[in-house]
Symmetry: C3
Subunit: 311 residues, 3 copies
Amino acid sequence: MKHFINTDEVEDLVALANEGLVLKKQGVGKKPGEGKVLTCLYLNPSLRTRLSTEIAARKLGMECINLAADSAWKLETRSGIVMDGDAAEHLKEQAEVLGRYSDIIAIRAFPLLKDAQEDYHDDFITRFAKYCDIPLVSLESGSLHPLQGLADLMTIQETKKVARPKIVLTWAPHPRQLPQSVANSFSRTIQQAGFDLTIACPEGMELSEEYTGQATLVHDQEEAFEGADYIYAKNWSSFHDYGRTIQRPDWTVTQEKMSRTNQGRFMHCLPVRRNVVVSDDVLDSEASLVGQQAENRIYAAQAVLKNLLSQ
Amino acid sequence: MKHFINTDEVEDLVALANEGLVLKKQGVGKKPGEGKVLTCLYLNPSLRTRLSTEIAARKLGMECINLAADSAWKLETRSGIVMDGDAAEHLKEQAEVLGRYSDIIAIRAFPLLKDAQEDYHDDFITRFAKYCDIPLVSLESGSLHPLQGLADLMTIQETKKVARPKIVLTWAPHPRQLPQSVANSFSRTIQQAGFDLTIACPEGMELSEEYTGQATLVHDQEEAFEGADYIYAKNWSSFHDYGRTIQRPDWTVTQEKMSRTNQGRFMHCLPVRRNVVVSDDVLDSEASLVGQQAENRIYAAQAVLKNLLSQ
Amino acid sequence: MKHFINTDEVEDLVALANEGLVLKKQGVGKKPGEGKVLTCLYLNPSLRTRLSTEIAARKLGMECINLAADSAWKLETRSGIVMDGDAAEHLKEQAEVLGRYSDIIAIRAFPLLKDAQEDYHDDFITRFAKYCDIPLVSLESGSLHPLQGLADLMTIQETKKVARPKIVLTWAPHPRQLPQSVANSFSRTIQQAGFDLTIACPEGMELSEEYTGQATLVHDQEEAFEGADYIYAKNWSSFHDYGRTIQRPDWTVTQEKMSRTNQGRFMHCLPVRRNVVVSDDVLDSEASLVGQQAENRIYAAQAVLKNLLSQ
C-alpha cells in the first residue's frame, strides 16, 4: 500500500491484522524504523490514538513527533488567496515541509459534519496528500477511522469461538454530534475480512450505502441482538440528513438487552459515556472487550507502520 | 516495592537513596528500560518534575510519554453517574487503557485543600490505582511528594559533614495557598532515614501528627536555626484548620538568620519566590543547595524507576 | 565555539556549512549524542525550528525535551525583586536547573520590537546565558536567526552555478510587525561566507549598519533584481525608526519581477504569506527553493549540535 487513509487500498486486510497479532506476541524484532521519523498532526483531541501511535512508532525504533494543529499558527487551506488575514502559512508549504522532515505522516482531522461531499471526498487529509509525497496514515479522517477498524478486527480474530460469529454494530445514544467514521470503518473492515455484519439503528440513522455495503439493516435493536456473538456500540450523527442528531435513550445497551445475545462480547472504541451509550454493569462485566480493543490499537499501528516502512 | 506513592512501602529507604547516588556516579549501565513505557499524567503544572522524570526514564532506555490532564477531554471520576455532561471519559477506562499501554505510570495530582480526608486518603492517585494493575509513581499526590523527599535525602547524604547533622524544616511565607506535600515528605523521609528533625512554624501551622512523627516542634524560628547544619524552607497551608493561609513576612529566611546556624546549608525544592521565602543573598550564596537538590531529582527518579522495572 | 547565539563566534562558517552538507549526505554515523540531553525553550511559536531541531538532535542520538515558556508558571526576569506577584520562579533558578539537566540548551525568544538596545544586546538569551554554564543555541533571538542563516548558506552552496552568484535580499510586504532577525542573519552569514550581497528595501527600512555590513544598498527593487541569481524575500519592521511597519504592496515579488533575474532562484525562510510576500506563480515554480531551505534546517542544526557536543 502507498498510504493508509482507508483500508480499501490494503490488498489483504486479514493478513495485515494477523501481522498485527504476530507483532503483539513476538515484538518488533530488529527495529525497522531506526532513524525514521513519524510526524503526527492532530487537528483534533486524542488520547488512545496519540499514545498507541507514538508507542507503536517508538517500539519500532522510529522517532515520533506530535504536532497539534494551529499550535504554531493558523493554516490557510484555500487556493489563490491573498494571505493578509490570520493564517500565517499555507497548507501547501506545511505539507511539503512536513514531507521533507518525515518518513511517514499521520493526520487526525475530524469532519465538520456540514457538507458530506467535503467530509467524505475532499477532507483535510485528501488535500494534504496533494502536496506531500510520502506515506500518510489516517488517525481518523472525515469519513473513516481505519486504525480503529483494524484493531477491532484484530480483537475479533483473537476472541472469536466460531468461524462466522454474528457481529452486530448498533447505534447508541450520545449527547453530542459525532462523526460516522468509526461506524464506517467497522462496517467496511469487518465485511472486507469476510464476516457478515448486522447494523441496528433508528430509522433515518442508516450509514451511507458506500459503507453499509452488504450488511443486514435492522431498525429493531432487540431483534438484532438475538444470538449475537459481538455487540459493537457506537453513536453517529445522520448521514442522509447530514449531521443531524437524535435523542433515543431507549437505545442504550443494557444487561437486559445483552441477555438476548449468545453470551455476546461488548465492544466500543472509547471514550465511552457510561449509562448513556452503555450501562455500568455491561461495561464492567467480563463480556466487555473495550480494554483489549484499545490495547490492540498499538499493534494495529505497528503493523501499518512496519508495512509502510518496508515499501 | 509495588508502587511508589509514599516512601513507607520502601523497605530500606537509605539503600534506595544510595542507589540513586550510585546511578548518578556510574550511569545506568546496560539499559533496564529498553522497550518499556513510562506514561506521566500531569493534572498540574510541572517543570523540574517533568524534566527530571523524563530524562531519568529516557536515560534508562524507556520511552516516556507526557500527558496533560484534560488535554484530550474532561474526565469523570464519580461512580454510577449518567455521563451526559461535559466529561467524555471515565477514570476507570482511562486507568485501564493507560495501564495496558504502559509499564509504569507516574501521576501528579495536587490536593484541592478543601477536605483533608480526601486529599490525604482518597486522592486521584489512590482512585486511579484501583483500576490499574501496574506500578504507579507519585509525582506529587494530595499529601506527599516522595521523589522530592528522596532527592532531598540524597542531597543531605552527599553533603553532610557529621553523621547526625541538625536538620531544620522551617515554614516560610508565600502569597498563595500551598499543599503540605513537600513538607510532609521531607519530614517523613528524613526521619525514616534515621535523622533527627526540628520543625519550625508559626502556631497553628503544624503538620499532621502522622507526618510530624518524632520531630521536635518549635514556634520560634531563630531558636530553631541555632547551630543548624541544614535549613529546609518551605511554605505550606494549615493542616489543622485545613487549607488556611497566613501572612508572616517575619518568617522569610534571611542572611542574618542563617548566621545563627553552624554554617548551615540552605535547601528548597523550587520554584522559590525570592525575597518572600528567602532573601537574594542567601539563595545566591555558597550555602544554597537548591540546584543540587533539583539535579538529584533525576537520579532519585532513576533509582525508583530502575527498582520498579526490576520487580 | 562555546555557544551558538550568533555566527560571529564561528571561526570558519563555510566549514560548518559544509559539515552540515556532509551530514546530510552521509548521516550521523556513530551517534555522538548518545545519553546527552538537548532542552529547547520556546518563548514563541515554532514549527520548522521545533521539528528540525528535534529531528536533528534525535538522529544524533540525543534526547530532546521541548518546553513552552510559561507552560509551568510565569518567569521573573528582573533582579532584586520581591516575588509576591504572578511569577513563581526566577530566571536565575530556571537557567541553573535547566543547565544541570541538559547538555545543550536551545532558546527561541523573539524581540519585543520596542527597545533596540534590549532586543539587540540584552535579550532573553543573553540574560539566560549569565546563569547557565553549558552551550546555548539560538532558535531565533532578539536580533538574529543564525540556524536559518546557516541553512540558507547551505542551500546556496548546494545550488550555485557560479562561484560568485548575485545574491539579493529584498524587503517584502507583510500585514504584521516582524523582527529583523532573519534578514540580519542572512546578510551576516552570506557576507561572512565571502559572498557579495545586495539589499533592496524601501527608504527607511534599512537594516542596522552592524548587520548591513558591506552589502550594496538599493531602494529600487527592480534594479536590484537585474541579473540576480538568488532573490531572498523577507519582511522586516524598521530598525532606524525601531519597530515601525509600512505597507508597500508594490514590493510583492512577482513573476514579472523574477523575469529580470538571471533565471534567479527564489528563497524565503517560511512561513510565507502567499500573494502578499510573493505571488503563487513564483512560489509554485521550479525556481523556488523554500522547501530545500526548510529541509536544510535539519542538517544545519545537526552540524551545530555535533560541533557543540565535540567541545
